[in-house]
Amino acid sequence: MKLFGLRTKFSRPAALALSTILFGLTLWIYGDYSSDRHAENPRDKLMPTAGQMLTSMGKAIFRPNVIKEYDDDGELIPSNEPETLREAYEQGKLWNMLKNGEWQLWEDTMATGYRVFIAMIFILFGIFVGLYMGLFPVFDHLLYRFVLFFDKIPALALLPILFIVFGLGETAKIALIVIGVAPTIILDTYLRVKEIPNEHLTKGMTLRANSQEIVYKIVLPQIMPKVLDTIRLNFKAVILFLIAGEALAAEAGLGYRIFVVRRYMDMATIIPYVLWISLLAFLIDYFLRKWIQKKYVWLHQ
């Protein structure tokens, strides 16, 4: 059997083995290099071991941030408040801690998730803009060039303006995502609408569809799976703009955390956080893909 043939067929185990090679290799090189560095300098921060990453993630997940109080001389005021779940359990304050504690990873994920959620609502609204732009000449003339122009502005270059105009709050960060991603979604929807053969509109009219029925019963259901695919692929850009916004000004968030702990070269936190963000993005992508496949059977059969 030729390994490099154009039509070489691999058995399932062989294909799987081939797919894991690069993952395995990366992990192995990292582990090897990391343990070498730690053998030389046990306090090495640059390439934390798996154990160190687990510890710092464990802290982020299971240990709430305790606000430490200092006296006028800068001495730490000793406090009896529990710091870990076990201490809290022993003192009978577990429920209190679960309720009031600041759980770092959870808070960060929620803060980021909230921003993504709000931004996605605006981005979904872009589908309708593209839809009407593609179908009604009046919206086409009114909006097409404008959106095209906006699409060319690098959104990151607008970030200072957004911070000046909207302040450092949530608005600026959400606006950045929307400005960065919405034009792409609008233009993509627009192109999908233009791909719909004119015969379908004619046909709809001969079956007594009015223009809104043509929009919502003929065109939208046909382009929806493709538009969802575009949103899926642009999710990466959403995360990108989000992290850029959070890096500059935020109080919580996955991107914010990475940039905060960078000051202490805390790679043991950064690496698992990056993996966590990637995992979330992957899962969202995966479920959306499965959902599209399941819901739009007519497209694939």
Binding site: E199, T202, K203, M205, T206, Q222, W298
Partner: protein
Amino acid sequence: MYGFTSDQMKNEEKNYILSLERAFQNYGEKNILNGINLKIRPGEFVTVVGPTGCGKSTTLRLFLGSEFPTSGKALYENRDITNCDRNRGVVFQKYSIFPHKTVRENVMFGLELETFGLFEPILNPFNFRRKRKEFVEEADQYLERVRLLEHADKYPNQLSGGQRQRTAIAQAMIMKPKILLMDEPFGALDEGTREEMQVFTLEQWEEHRQTVIFITHSLEEAIFMGSRLIVVSQFYKKENGEEGSKIVKDVSIPWMHPRSTEIKGTKEFVQLTEEIKYEGLDPNYLQEIGDFDLSHKDSVKKLSKM
């Protein structure tokens, strides 16, 4: 023949369901139709043939209402055609049915659109469900007639070309349009399926007797199916600067419906085919406008050139 009084003229006019009056159609600089005059009676099966690019489909779109003549008139029941509507159903060669709907949903789609508003399922769920059940039954009757009932739950991309076109015909017919416009409906089908579909379409027409305009590039198909045959062509002797197509032949086809496919082999059939091929479709044979064979009783003859 031209001695009508104005009253007689009016009575005559009323008998035509579709007509074109000196219809010109330009696309940019290019003139496609050069003053077409055409009158069609209800119940006629009109087949239209012509060389590539002669504007057969343009003519159909004028009747459909998806395009309007640059000058002249397109009339339905003596009123200007201003839009596509439910009285003139259409079957295209491609894209006639909606890929996101099953065969049954495609067929009942027109009934739903006609009866329900956009928010009917929310505003009036009870009525929506009851009516929908009726529509399913009606659609299934049509599907049985087009022999597709067993495929009712399939999506178009699971169907063969012939099945798709049968769905399209059922989808158009369920609206009971007065006119069925067909633009090369069987152009993409193989020979066997094509003949089957010809027979099927004629059966449907004989049952309902709606007016049919049937565009095709196959002369044999046009002669076999039509009760009236029209040849549109850009090949005739033109004056300087004149451009675009005219009706160069307009004849009634002698055989009575229902027809058997066997007539395709007869001597008369072959002879008629040859004659039309020579007079109507040969780019080297240029007739004088006055010599056109417009022998059909409804054809609009002009004695003098305008």
